[in-house]
Amino acid sequence: MRLAVVIHLVGVLVRLFGIMVFLPALVAALYHEWTDAAGFLATALGTLALGEGMRMAGGPRSQAAAERLRRVEGMSVVAGTWILMAHVAAVPYIWAGLGFIDALFESMSGLTTTGATVFRDFDAFGRGIFFWRSMTQWLGGMGVIALFVAVLPRLAIGGRELFFAEASGPTDEKLTPQIRQTAMVLWRLYAVLTAAEVIALLGAGMSLFDAVCHAMTTLAAGGFSPNPASLADYSPAVQWVILVFMVLAGMNFALQVRVARGGHGRALLHDEEFRAYLGAILVATVLLVPFLMVNGTSLAAAIRHGLFQTVSIITTTGYASEDFNLWSDQAKVVLLALMFIGGSAGSAAGGPKVVRHVLMARYTLRELRRTLHPRAVLPVKLGGRVVPDQTMREVVVFMLFYILTFAIGATIVIALGADLVTGITASAATIGNVGPGFSAVGPMGHFADLHPISKIVLTLEMWIGRLEVLTVLVLFRGEIWRSARWQSE
C-alpha cells in the first residue's frame, strides 16, 4: 500500500466534501441563524484547507499513481474518507453546542444513513443544523464517493475500486462500460426521485422545509426527521407518500434504471432479489397486522402502521409512523428480525441485504444436497446465473463478521450499563444503519444517555456497517501496515 497515494486521494475527496458544506451555510443564513451559518462557513473553509493540504502532502507523483489504484488502497481511501468526513461533518454540531463524542455520533449517524440521534431537545437547534443532518444522509445514501466519481474525471480509472468499495451489497453490475457514467446515471435517478418526493410531500400538505428534509432522508433510507416525533405527527397521506419512496430507496437503483430505460416492468419480477424483498415485506406485514389489532387498532390503521414500520425497518430507514416502542413484544420481534434482513444490494439501504440471505439459503441447501450426491456439480445460482465461488465466500465471511460485530457491540453496550433490549437493539440498529431500536433507544427516545464508550462503539458499528464490514476490517490486518510504504519505488 502506498500511503502517499491514499492520503492524496483522501485529500481530493475531502476537499470536494468541503464544498458541500457551503450549502447548509446558505440555508442557515436564509433563516437568519447567523451563528450556525458562521460555523458552517468555517467548517467549509477549514475542510477545503485540510483537503488541499493532504492532496499536496501526497505529492505530485501520487496523482499519476492514483490511476493504478490497488484494491486495498481503494478500500483504505474509502474507509479513510468516510471517517474523516464524519469528523468534518461533526464540527457544525460542536459549534452548536454538542460534545465531541455526541457530535461524532450524530454526524456518523447522518453520513451512514443510520438515523440514530443523540439530540435530546430538538428545539435547541436551528433549521440549518436540521438541514445539514438531512443532507449528510442524502449524500451518504447513494454514496459520497460515487458522487465524486461521477463529477471528477480524474477518478475515471481509480474510481472503479473506490466505487465498488463503497457500493452496498455483493453487486458488480455496471449500467455502462464506464464507471463514471454509471455513477452519473445512478445519481441522476437519485436526484430525480428526491425531487419527485418533495413535490409529492408538498402535495400531501407538508411545509417546504420539512418536505425537503424528509425527501432527502427517505431516499437515503436514513430516517432523520426534523420532527422529534418522526412521522407520527403527520397525516396518513404523508405517511403513504413516504412509504412508497422508502420502498424505492430499498430497491436496487441500477434495476430501477434498467426498468425505466426498458419501459417494461417484467424485468422487475424476473429479479430474484426484488421478489424476495417484496416477499419479506409482505410476510412481515401479514404477521404484524393481527399483532397490532389485538390492542384495538382498526384494520386500516393496522395495515398502514404495519406496512410502514415493516418497510421502514427492512429498508433500514428508521422512520416511525407511531411509537413502535409501545407495541407488543410479538410485534417488536418481527421488526427486530427485519433489522437483520436489510434492503436490496445496490440500494441506499443498509443491513446484510436480501440477496445475501437468498445466497446463504441456497448455499445451505446446496451443502445439504451434496451429502446426498457427493459427486454432483452443484453451482449456486441467482437469476439463472452461476454465482462465483469468490462471491459466495465473501458473502459467508460478511455474514460471520456482521453477526460477530453485532454481538461484540451489544455486549459492550450492555456491560456499560444499558438494559438487555436497549443494548441488543442499539447494536443491531447501528450496524444495520437502521437508527432507532427499542426501549431507551426507541423511535421517540435517543442515544444520548448511553455510556460515552458505548457511543464510540456504536459510532464504529455504523461505519463498519455502511462500508459493509470487509472494507473496514481489512484495515485491521497488520500485514497491510507492515508492508505500507510512503510511495512505491
Binding site: H373, P374, R375, A376, V377, P379, K381, G384, V386
Partner: protein, 446 residues
C-alpha cells in the same frame, strides 16, 4: 454431377463412398494421411485447405454442382461454403456441430448471408431423435410428421407383449393406425393381413396422434404417466442439447454424468433442474451410488463407441429399462443392438443419408430413416395419373405402403377405400431397395 467434399473424416468418407458410384467426386482434406482410406474409391483426392481459393480452384469449383463441407470444424465449413459460393455457383451444404453460428435452430436463414444453401446439424438431429424416443414410453424409435398430426413409433415385441401370437387381422389395431413394417432378424418386410407377429420382432406403427395414444396403451399397458427418470451419460454437444430439451419437460427427473469438471460446471449452469454428476459413465461405483439402475431410460452419448457400449451394458446390468446409445461408426450399429442396446443411433449415419437423398432425391423428399437406413419415409405429391384412384386400385411398388394422406385441412391414415386427389401429399413407407421405384412411381408421367 461434379461434387466437391471438403473434409475426409467419417462423414466425408461415407458420402464419397455412396456418391462416387454415379458422380464425379473430389475430396479435399488437409491431412495427406486421410488419402489412404480413399484410395480404393474412384475419386480424386486433393491435399489442401478447403478455405483456400487456390485449392478450391484446383478442385474445379467453377464447374462444380455441389460442395459439401463436412470437416470437424464449424468455422472451416462455413468459410469453405462462403468461398465456394463466391468462386463458383455450386449448391452449398454445410455441416455444423455447435449452435454458436445458428443461434436458434429456427434461424438457419442467418447462414444464407454466408452463401450456405443447407445446414446439416447431425448432433441436433440426433438430440431431437433421442428426445422423441425418450418421450414415447416403450418405443425404440419415434418420428413425428405434419407438426405431430402423424406419428410413427417402432416397438420391440418381447415375449410378454400383448401383440404377439396373433395375425394382423386378429390384432384389430385402433382405427387411424397402421402396422407398416416388421423387422424379423435380418429380414425387413411389409406385413399382410395374415402375418403373425412373434416375440423378438420389431414392429413399426404409423398413425394419427389420437390413434397412437391408443396403440401406446395397448402395447405398453404398464408404462404410467408419472415421473420419468432419465440418465444421460456424456455432456457433449448431443448430451447438452438433449438435456436442455428434457430439462424443460414436466415430470422429468434428469441426471447427467460428465467426466470433465469444467464441462460439468457449464452444464450445471445451463440446466435448471437436472442433477449434474462429475464422473465417468463407466464407473460402476458412481452408477450404483446414484441408483442409476432405477432409471427408466439411460442415454449414452459419449463420443466414443467403446465407452458408450460399456456404459450401456453396465446400465442394462443394473436394471435400466430402456437403453439408447449413440454410435459413431455406422458399422457398429448392428453390433450394438445385438448385444442388448435397445436403440442404437448414429448421428452421422442419419446425416449422410439425408444429404445423399438431397443430392439424388428429385421430387420426393426423405422425411425419416428407420432401422439403420433399411426403412424410409418419403413424402410425395399425388401425380395426375393417380388422381381419383382409391388406395386399393393404386398398386404401388413392392415393399412400399402409403402410410398417410396429408391434406391442407387434415392428415389421415388411410383405408383401402380412401380416394386420392391431385392436391394430396402422401407419406410413403418403403424399404431401401424400393425407394427408387417409389420415386419413379409417383413422378408425373409425361
Amino acid at each position: 454431377m461434379r461434387i466437391i467434399i471438403v473434409g475426409g473424416g467419417e462423414v466425408g468418407f461415407g458420402l464419397a463412398q455412396a456418391l462416387s458410384l454415379r458422380h464425379e467426386v473430389i475430396v479435399i482434406d488437409q491431412a495427406s494421411e486421410a488419402a489412404d482410406r480413399f484410395d480404393k474409391l474412384d475419386i480424386e483426392f486433393i491435399v489442401g485447405g478447403g478455405t483456400t481459393a487456390e485449392t478450391l480452384r484446383r478442385a474445379g469449383i467453377d464447374r462444380a454442382d455441389i460442395i459439401i463441407a463436412c470437416t470437424g470444424l464449424d468455422e472451416v465449413n462455413i468459410v469453405a461454403c462462403g468461398m465456394a459460393h463466391q468462386l463458383g455457383s455450386p449448391q452449398t451444404i454445410c455441416f455444423v456441430s455447435r449452435e454458436d453460428f445458428l443461434g436458434l435452430s429456427e434461424q438457419r436463414e442467418g447462414l444464407e448471408r454466408f452463401g450456405i444453401d443447407r445446414v446439416v446439424w447431425p448432433e441436433a438431429q440426433l438430440a431431437d431423435d433421442i428426445e422423441r424416443i425418450v418421450a414415447t414410453p416403450g418405443a425404440i424409435d419415434a418420428e413425428v410428421f405434419e407438426q405431430g398430426a402423424i406419428r410413427l413409433v417402432e416397438y420391440r415385441l418381447d415375449s410378454d407383449s400383448p401383440l404377439i401370437e396373433q395375425t394382423l387381422a386378429e390384432l384389430r389395431l385402433p382405427p387411424g393406425s397402421l402396422l407398416v413394417a416388421v423387422r424379423r432378424g435380418d429380414t425387413f418386410f411389409i406385413p399382410r393381413g395374415d402375418t403373425r407377429l412373434m416375440a423378438g420382432d420389431k414392429a413399426i406403427v404409423m398413425g394419427t396422434a389420437a390413434a397412437m395414444t391408443e396403440v401406446q396403451r395397448r402395447v405398453t399397458p404398464a408404462a404410467g404417466t408419472g415421473r420419468q427418470r432419465v440418465t444421460i451419460i456424456g455432456g457433449g454437444d448431443v448430451g447438452l442439447r438433449l438435456a436442455e430439451r428434457l430439462d424443460a419437460m414436466k415430470g422429468m427427473e434428469l441426471r447427467i454424468i460428465e467426466r470433465e469438471q469444467k464441462r460439468g460446471e457449464m452444464l450445471a449452469a445451463r440446466l435448471r433442474h437436472a442433477l449434474v454428476l462429475n464422473g465417468d459413465g463407466t464407473d460402476l461405483g458412481l452408477l450404483e451410488a446414484e441408483d442409476i439402475g432405477r432409471s427408466d431410460v439411460l442415454v449414452s452419448v459419449i463420443d466414443n463407441d467403446e465407452k458408450n457400449l460399456l456404459a450401456s451394458l453396465l446400465g442394462r446390468q443394473l436394471g435400466v429399462r430402456r437403453i439408447i446409445t449413440r454410435v459413431s461408426k455406422p458399422a457398429n450399429l448392428r453390433l450394438f443392438e445385438r448385444v442388448g442396446v435397445d436403440v442404437a443411433l448414429s448421428a452421422r449415419g442419419a446425416a449422410v443419408a439425408s444429404v445423399l437423398h438431397q443430392v439424388e432425391g428429385g421430387q420426393a423428399s426423405l422425411l425419416a430413416v428407420l432401422e439403420e437406413g433399411e426403412g424410409r419415409i418419403l413424402e410425395v405429391q399425388v401425380p395426375p395419373q393417380h388422381d381419383g384412384r382409391t388406395l386399393r386400385e393404386l398398386d404401388p411398388p413392392r415393399d412400399s405402403i402409403v402410410g398417410a394422406i396429408l391434406r391442407p385441412d387434415k392428415a389421415i391414415v388411410p383405408h383401402g377405400t380412401d380416394r386420392l386427389g391431385s392436391g394430396d401429399r402422401l407419406l410413403v413407407f418403403c424399404t431401401r431397395g424400393a425407394a427408387d421405384q417409389v420415386r419413379t412411381f409417383f413422378s408425373p408421367r409425361r
